[in-house]
Symmetry: C2
């Protein structure tokens, strides 16, 4: 797709408007008409650039993550996790979690959204996390045969899903950091 | 509530019918009328016995769990987890997971269902798990100050949520057992 027709600034503006709308009305009620009106662009432009609503939403969420996991490289696994958490403040984390919870709900009824989120958000994050872990293995911090190596995404998703469910509190730095120290690093033998 | 008016057999029959209907039509489309018709009982009886649809559904799910966690006591934590998994076969586990996934979706729109599931299902399970862990602490298997002690439900929920999401496969014994061995027990120092 000819994404180059938009300036990066304009693209950022559009993505921000999509995320605002998502928070305001949710995925199902979000229409390409509403995005067009909010951003003073034409629906034709939106469809030409992004093809579909699920792809536009997935790209807006992807754009919201300023740094990919694989770029974090502090020299230790504990430092990498700490740097990863410092990318987002507690308020932003709470907003993002609410957004993702709403989307998890929408995914149930929209297989095309599921597919777009998987390709543009979940898979790149898992690959990035893999790269962070592979570097820790190369540094000798993790045994290459440690069976927890493939289960780190499962552990982290558990923290995000279970915190509101069990403790009825939002995920924040203090919780994530204690979870990484108590569960993730010990299971990896770090 | 005068639950004693029904024989245990009749109560079991009713709960089984509720779970069948839940699987067939989902929570939102499940009506007290449909339960009454399916079980040849009157709606008045259902409301008298259970008060509301969320409570009936939560009690049916609770009834579906034949043994409470706290009753499992094999003498070792590894043995307790193994016994816990052996309560459910893979086919049943897949059916239960599908059911819970549908309910997690319904919970989003029904705060009263959320409340009933929390009181009748989530809290008793967490208390049961706590009891299993407390016994392991008393036996000296787990350090009483281990910071992972309060995070076991989060780890386990992660396994159930992330397995279909990341690996696109249902949770089964082989996966759960490797997750317990690679993540849960090492984080507890067992």
């Amino acid at each position: 797709m000819a994404r180059s027709r938009l300036t990066p600034e304009r693209e950022s503006e559009l993505y921000a408007a999509v995320l605002d709308l998502l928070r305001e009305v949710g995925y199902d009620a979000l229409t390409m008409d509403a995005v067009a009106a909010r951003t003073h662009s034409s629906k034709a432009t939106l469809y030409r650039q992004w093809g579909s609503k699920p792809e536009l939403v997935a790209r807006a969420l992807r754009h919201n993550k300023p740094v990919t996991l694989a770029e974090i490289d502090t020299g230790s696994l504990r430092g990498d996790f700490r740097a990863l958490m410092e990318l987002t403040d507690d308020c932003q984390m709470e907003k993002d979690t609410a957004l993702m919870r709403g989307l998890a709900h929408a995914v149930h009824d929209n297989p095309d959204l599921h597919q777009a989120l998987r390709e543009l958000l979940v898979e790149p994050e898992i690959k990035g996390l893999d790269e962070v872990l592979r570097r820790a293995v190369r540094r000798g911090e993790i045994d290459p045969d440690n069976p927890a190596l493939g289960l780190v995404p499962h552990m982290l998703i558990g923290a995000f899903v279970a915190r509101p469910l069990i403790d009825e509190r939002p995920v924040d730095h203090a919780f994530l950091s204690s979870y990484v120290d108590a569960v993730v690093l010990p299971s990896l033998g770090v």
